[in-house]
Symmetry: C2
Subunit: 357 residues, 2 copies
């Protein structure tokens, strides 16, 4: 099928989606690079690094492997990858390839954006979740005081998405990725939402998955083309993320996946939207679908105060008011500033509601 | 006098040069920022931080002070400034002001370029040398394996240059700054070069200095407007820096200033150019002027082999050949690739020549 083309302020890049495209990576590296550094994590490298290295088959091709998990998005590994790039002799005409999920894409992309003031990089996402982060050029590492606080807007030169690599994902990871697809549908496409809500994640066909990824990526691409630097509409993509990020931080990365936290965040956004705009949104169908697909939704033991504090330190805060993405309707996102008191009261009623269902 | 306007790919910004403009900083901060972090070093902060803070007089204005010297351009201070920015509550609508020389501009600019994926920053250079680094948006920190290896292209929102702050510079710092002015003259403007060679650095008037800065900055601005990301002509600005950087690394930062090292590098570039293009360049007038103004030029105890190795690890290396900026004539720079052997032989003959003069 056709590639999806994304126009960024500096260049256009293609997103290629297909089965087994990882064996053809060399075909998508159209420019002549002096050397290539593939960055991956242990799990993904064991499965796919050989396929990529064999496809590239150049003499100046190197592999850097970082530990699995969110804790790799930190300043020490960022610096270490710079060290490895220097030691391998990467210069300004070199390429970095990020082979893995969102953590690898964010980390390797941020290294590429700062290595000798920026070299090219290509995303090879290997999770469903990374359909979201691999497109649009947001790259970052975490600061100990908050997620994604150190980073750049730095679009990749290409995204190569091998759907076969998604076959090895755990159920948790499938759920995690689908939460971001649900988010994109809520923001932009009611028909897509209905189609997702008819999907059973435990019997997903490759064809269905590819179609969902393609639709989700198109929604994302349209938004980032309009607002690359997140001055306006791109903020809509943070739907569900105010509470989502806070839950990840509060519970600890690894306890709950990013998408699972976002799923709860989406329900919270809908809850607030319904109350604030006195409107009817698909809270119940979504809750039902999350439950059917075993999303963890239990917030009974959560520390509300602590969640609130984390939300207040989130970087989307403007002039000390919390900005939340809400929905006036499916496909009609909006930004709303909330003060602490309102946010607290919405969070209280949401936890009560969710716990009673 | 009129501001100099620089067009970058993302925005245009003004360079204001004048006596006492630091007291008017607030007038040049035209946008409403939610908070402002002024970054400076101990020496500069003691002299001028109060003037800036008083001009800004906002409630959300903070000051971060880092140690004096090149060693502050490192990953630890980079991270520490992020921590301070977070703790002060800086958000995406905040501003960083770099108050100091090139080290502060590079460090604070790089923090701004990566804080929450990039916030605005303004340069307030307080050295002559920083007329070069404050314009054009190259920001970076050093890696232990090389200078400026981690950074971004990230233009400031404004440059405010108070010539009064240059009155307190030491002779060494005046020499350092003038070497970059000589470089700009060699690249682009023979008449400017002649005027510089008539200047006595020990009896410099504010008027002369301001005129030199203005001419140097205009040369720099013209070049970076044509080639912001250093894909072509901007490389000419590295004239004298292949050997210059290597000398700084070999001798240790602090032993020789950046500009003093560049001065030797300029002589080396001219030496190579004269031999390679069988042309006559102003080697002797320049040498005479450097001597008259007490530039350190003694290379008799230098380790050639070590210098060569450092030059080979410089980031301007393309495909393992060293790229040097040379001159076909004053105002006619060119890029030449050199192999190790040629470079070694040129370096040998240069050191012999310089030591015999």
């Amino acid at each position: 099928m056709d590639d999806i083309i994304v126009k960024s302020s500096s260049h256009s890049y293609a997103i290629t989606i297909g089965e087994n495209v990882r064996f053809l990576v060399d075909n998508y590296v159209t420019k002549k690079y002096s050397s290539i550094l593939v960055v991956s994590d242990k799990t993904v490298a064991d499965l796919y690094a050989n396929d990529i290295m064999n496809s590239l088959k150049g003499e100046n091709t190197f592999l850097s492997i970082v530990p699995v998990g969110e804790q790799s998005k930190d300043i020490r590994l960022f610096y270490q990858l710079h060290t490895e790039a220097i030691n391998h002799g990467l210069d300004r005409q070199s390429l970095i390839i990020a082979l893995g999920g969102g953590v690898i894409g964010d980390l390797a992309g941020f290294v590429a954006s700062t290595y000798m003031r920026g070299i090219d990089y290509i995303q090879l996402p290997t999770t469903i979740l990374a359909h979201d982060s691999s497109v649009g050029g947001k790259v970052a590492i975490n600061h100990e005081l908050g997620k994604n606080l150190i980073g750049s807007f730095y679009p990749p030169k290409a995204v190569i998405y091998d759907t076969q690599t998604l076959q090895t994902l755990s159920e948790k990871e499938v759920r995690s990725g689908y939460a971001e697809l649900i988010k994109e549908a809520l923001i932009a496409d009611g028909a897509f939402l209905n189609s997702l809500l008819e999907t059973d994640l435990f019997s997903l066909s490759t064809k269905e998955l590819e179609e969902h990824l393609r639709t989700g990526i198109k929604i994302k691409a349209t938004i980032v083309e309009e607002d690359e630097k997140e001055a306006g509409n791109r903020k809509y993509l943070n739907l569900g993320h105010t509470l989502g990020h806070a839950l990840e931080t509060e519970l600890g990365y690894g306890t709950i996946t990013h998408g699972e936290a976002v799923a709860i965040g989406l329900l919270f956004s809908i809850h607030v939207s319904e109350l604030m705009y006195a409107t009817k949104l698909p809270y119940n169908p979504l809750l039902k679908w999350f439950k059917k697909n075993h999303y963890p939704l239990d917030l009974r033991n959560i520390d509300e105060k602590s969640l609130l504090n984390i939300m207040k330190s989130d970087k989307k805060i403007m002039n000390k008011m919390i900005q939340m993405v809400l929905l006036k309707d499916t496909g009609q996102p909006t930004i709303q500033e909330l003060d602490d008191e309102d946010l607290h009261s919405y969070l209280k009623s949401f936890i009560t509601k969710l716990s009673s269902e």
